[in-house]
Amino acid sequence: MGSLAVELFGKSLKNPVMNASGTLGYGVEIEPLWGVDTMGAYVTKGLSAAPHHGNPTPRVWEERCGMLNSIGLQNVGVDRFFSHYFPLFVERRCPIIVNFFGFSEEEYLSCARSIEPHDLIVALEMNLSCPNIKMGGISFGKEASAVHAIVRSVREVTKIPLIAKLTPEVKNLVEIARAAYEGGADGLTLINTMPAAVVDVKSRRVTLKGGLSGPLLKPVALRAVHECSQAVPIPIIGVGGIMNTEDALAFLMAGASAVQVGTATFVDPFAMPKIIAGLDSWLGASGLAGISAIVGATHG
């Protein structure tokens, strides 16, 4: 039997499947259906140094093959996460990736500083899609120089491996990926949601502006993973519209060392356990020694 285990930043994960940040609450919410330790790792909801209330409703909208969300990064704050929600992961021995954000360099730094290294913390995942208030609200992730600078600053204040989660809404994603790597990122998560809008024809108004997720994002994400994984020598975590085992395999073959499942969980709360089981049977039938053997299979 081949093994689904993967090694990421020096830690062994029992499989390459994790949730996308913000799509599995604080983890505890899924427990009535399946244990968080089913996954290779749990990715936290986006955390910030201070709690955030988030946006008024509507926050979500359905599209034919996906959805838009504008949650507004509602979260209890990093301290409360560790005092209140982290003990579950300790009890389950479930590794976590801590997704965090800030609206200024200081906020990123203060959040990263406050997180002590822990056996179960695989990495910090920086959300770079946030608007930089000091730069007139342009997102940190849009310019290579800004990505380089913010990653480098955060890199200096923490010993925990650092992942940059990139927005696809850029002129040249490979250039941004290189900037993150050169700034000191140990890995990349590709990709965040795409900026999108919904128009209500009756009222002639924009109903919601938010991030697009779901199956229609998959080909965009696959291309990002395929190209960036060949441009930088660090692990890539692939995310965007993964609904089933075949989708997850496509991301691994495109060059992702692990995958994140998000919107699929809303459609089928058992999507992740099913994908993990599906990868296991695929691996068994393939005769390969481990799932890592197919990572980057599409590369020439």
Binding site: T23, P51, T57, R59, V60, E62, R64, F266, V267, D268
Partner: protein, 252 residues
């Protein structure tokens, strides 16, 4: 909470665009509190996310939902035929918690009846239902209630009190004030707002079931929040901390 496959056994029009769906589940939903809901995967490829519906009735492996066709999800559901397979996640959320020894007043507007129907069945003759409808035909929604006392209002004046249900309740509220009244409500946001205005001077206990657009239905996405008076954490999830809230905690 469980995600249970089922098959449609009935999907019939009650009146107007109101319909009643019955589903034979592979397993029972288990214990359902009045006011809890389920997320239904509508059997139509064009409907991506599940849809939330109050549990109208749950008996063994038979689940009943009452719904109004209001958008593309309910439109697709109305076209679903007998034996069509669907998935039902539930029971979800926090339902009504009637206080012992109180006199229950149940207020429902239109399809809001579906959200309080289990509660009414549970309370039996102790409760009075104030039911607001647009017209006489809509009152047929509540025709299966048995002996529970029903006071009805219609917007078009075709039956009972002419006007909205909160106006009707206003005429009767004084009768209840000495009897430890407790209000349970489900209806459109306009109804909830005027209910709050009516009850403001007397501040009697009131639980209200709210409706929000949902993606996951189980607290994962934080998409369905409502604003509350809690200053440190104002936005509460309708699917997890709700859908039933204390009216006096809500910012309307």
């Amino acid at each position: 909470m469980d995600d249970i496959p089922g098959k449609i056994t009935g999907n019939d029009r009650v009146t107007g665009n109101y319909r009643r769906l019955t589903v034979r589940l592979e397993r029972s939903l288990g214990r359902v509190s009045p006011g809890q809901f389920v997320m239904v995967k509508v059997p139509d490829r064009d409907i991506f996310l599940r849809r939330p519906f109050s549990v109208y009735d749950s008996r063994g492996r038979t689940l009943t939902i009452m719904y109004r066709v209001v958008g593309k999800g309910t439109d697709a559901l109305s076209a679903a035929v007998r034996r069509a397979p669907l998935m039902v996640l539930g029971p979800l959320g926090r339902g009504f918690t009637p206080g012992r020894g109180n006199t229950p007043i149940v207020v429902a507007g239109g399809i809001g009846y579906a959200g309080v129907r289990m509660l009414l069945k549970r309370l039996g003759d102790r409760a009075t239902l104030f039911f607001g409808a647009t017209g006489k035909d809509e009152l047929r929604l509540a025709e299966d209630l048995g002996t529970t006392r029903v006071l009805a209002s219609t917007m078009d004046g075709s039956f009972g009190f002419a006007g909205d249900v909160v106006g009707l309740l206003g005429h009767h509220l004084d009768d209840y004030l000495g009897k430890k009244p407790e209000v349970f409500a489900c209806g459109p946001s306009g109804m909830v707002k005027s209910l709050k205005a009516l009850l403001e001077p007397v501040r009697i206990p009131c639980q209200v079931s709210v409706e929000e657009r949902m993606a996951c239905g189980m607290g994962l996405c934080f998409g369905c929040v409502v604003a509350t008076r809690d200053e440190t954490n104002p936005y509460k999830r309708a699917c997890k901390e709700g859908p039933v809230f204390n009216l006096w905690d809500l910012l309307l």
